[in-house]
């Protein structure tokens, strides 16, 4: 069993590496092709007018991007990769706090709505509508509000907490919607069984509805975790918070001409952070919901 699982992990790692290699090859291939359009337009009369051209500034080579991870930006003696790592840790904190708050809020909403059909029908549209407000619109409001009005809290309010709040706004939604489905998932016979034992509401929730929702919740957690990273990055950018990957992406975009590979590294860092949190949730799911006959998706 252990060996089989190890072989599976190795195979997965190989597929992942192959996929990364394929992406790099495709990137390089298009770079070459796009540049050849630019160099000799006349040779590519049709495609040349349809497909975008490229050059070293818009598409730095794969080797340059890799070198960008290890090179220190001018005036600093720290590798750019390590700077990005530090920014990623900052963003991860915002995302993790936002995610946790989102899970608590989302679960609370799901539990309240599942308790009554009337509440569910009346309030679910509002929950859905909340997601149609663009994040960029509410981010500055949240930050300003946080700076001015959060002094009633026993701890000092920092801007990054406002960013967490923005991430919460994105994460509570999938948890609430999937959680609601999960809480409704037990069969009528299972509910009758609990009734026949004269189980109290809380007992039915804790011993039947919540455990039955775990598979639903974990697929929500995976969406919510990656969304919390997106929320944190967008929050940083639109709220003008100092620090974090979003801030770094904005900065590198502004000085793009002097180091395009650094923007690429920062963006790839954001992608890696998203994959990282996804894997963390999958690992948690694997250790918690390891039921016989059901395979965790990892």
């Amino acid at each position: 069993m252990g060996l089989k699982r190890l072989r599976g992990s190795i195979r997965q790692a190989i597929v992942f590496a192959l996929f990364v290699g394929l992406l790099m090859a495709a990137y390089s291939a298009y770079k070459g092709f796009g540049q050849s359009i630019d160099d000799a337009q006349t040779d590519w009369p049709v495609v040349g007018s349809i497909l975008p051209r490229t050059d070293d500034l818009t598409m730095p080579s794969v080797l340059e991007i890799i070198a960008g991870v290890f090179d220190a930006p001018r005036g600093l003696d720290e590798a750019f990769g390590s700077i990005v790592l530090r920014e990623a840790a900052f963003t991860l904190r915002e995302a993790a706090v936002g995610f946790s708050a989102g899970v608590i809020v989302g679960l609370a909403i799901a539990i309240v709505l599942s308790s009554s059909r009337l509440l569910e029908r009346a309030l679910v549209p509002h929950v859905i509508a909340s997601q149609t407000i663009p994040l960029i619109a509410i981010a500055p409001i949240v930050v300003i509000w946080g700076r001015k009005n959060m002094d009633f809290l026993p701890w000092e309010w920092h801007d990054w907490m406002s960013v967490s709040l923005i991430a919460t706004y994105l994460t509570f939604f999938p948890v609430a919607i999937n959680g609601l489905r999960g809480l409704h998932s037990p069969s009528s016979e299972a509910l009758e069984l609990m009734d026949s034992y004269a189980a109290r509401r809380g007992q039915t929730l804790w011993r039947l509805r919540l455990p039955a929702s775990l598979p639903y919740l974990f697929s929500a957690f995976k969406i919510a975790a990656t969304a919390s990273v997106v929320g944190a990055i967008v929050g940083e950018i639109s709220a003008g918070v100092t620090g974090g990957l979003g801030r770094r992406i904005l900065l590198e975009a502004q000085r793009y001409t002097t180091g395009p590979e650094r923007l690429y590294v920062a963006v790839l860092g954001a992608a890696a952070l998203g994959i990282f949190v996804f894997l963390c949730i999958s690992l948690l799911e694997y250790s918690l919901v390891r039921r016989k006959g059901t395979e965790a998706i990892l």
Partner: protein, 266 residues
């Protein structure tokens, strides 16, 4: 003990008087599911409810369990209202699907009602072990429900139902999804458990032979509206595999079938 005290002097476990159930009253899809049902079930009896689909036998069982409220009439369980009996945990229910929680192992599934009743962990563990012995699944305490066959899962469901020693066991087609061989085996097991624990059983089934083999009393129901067509006393003496081939068994099977046919032709 005289014969009379065995049959008629026992305190009724379940007393149903004029019970009527209307689903969706006042609406276009109004259904009269049960019409003026009278039924007594004595303590220690094994009563089967049999009849075609839609005759209300499952509804009648749920009326006793207080999972469904009667529209009119009274249902008394152990001399109190059905709902009070539910709150006092006087009965336990077994469904057609075993309905085990697949995030709990077999032992913890059996402990579920005990947990709800606030038993201490050590007591729960001990009782769960006793119950596994009763249904002969000692070696499967830590197996997961998805690893069990249908018959084994249903035995765990019975162990779960019996764990807190309810006076009354309500069974809704518990063997309906099992193959014939497993089914006969389960019937023998159930009768053994019944005689060992002296529990009163109300058992819903589609199968005439199952009803006649298991019960002391067969209640034949007819559909639309659900009514009791006949109550047949069914004394087979010892119930073992030889009883399945005894003349009395076949005589009672035809008696039940005759009543069912009469209900159909109405």
């Amino acid at each position: 003990m005289t014969a009379e005290s065995v049959t008629s002097e026992r305190m009724p476990a379940v007393e149903i008087r004029g019970a009527t159930k209307v689903f969706n009253p006042g609406e276009a899809n109004e259904v009269l599911a049960l019409d003026n049902i009278d039924l007594n079930v004595g303590a220690g009896d094994f009563v089967t409810l049999i009849g075609p689909s839609g005759c209300g036998k499952s509804t009648l069982l749920r009326l006793v369990a207080a999972l469904v409220d009667s529209t009119s009439g009274t249902v008394l369980v152990n001399g109190k209202s059905a709902d009070q009996a539910r709150l006092d945990r006087d009965y336990s229910m077994v469904f057609q699907k075993a309905g085990l929680f697949d995030w709990r192992d077999v032992s913890r599934n059996i402990e579920l009602p005990l947990e709800l009743m606030g038993w201490r962990a050590a007591d729960r563990r001990r009782r769960s072990k006793e119950m596994l012995e009763l249904v002969k699944l000692e070696d499967f305490a830590h197996h997961h429900p998805l690893e069990l066959s249908g018959g084994m899962a249903q035995r765990v469901a019975i162990a779960r139902a019996m764990s807190f020693e309810p006076a009354l066991l309500l069974m809704d087609e518990p063997f309906g999804a099992l193959d014939e061989m497993t089914r006969e085996h389960m019937q023998n097991e159930l009768l053994r458990i019944w005689s060992e624990t002296e529990t009163t059983v109300i058992f819903v089934t589609h199968s005439i032979s199952e009803a006649v083999f298991l019960s002391t009393k067969v209640v034949v129901m007819s559909p639309r509206p659900g009514r009791i067509a006949a109550v047949i006393d069914n004394d087979l003496g010892t119930r073992d595999d030889t009883a399945r081939d005894a003349p009395q068994f076949f005589a009672n099977v035809s008696a039940v079938r005759k009543v069912l046919r009469a209900g159909e032709s109405q």
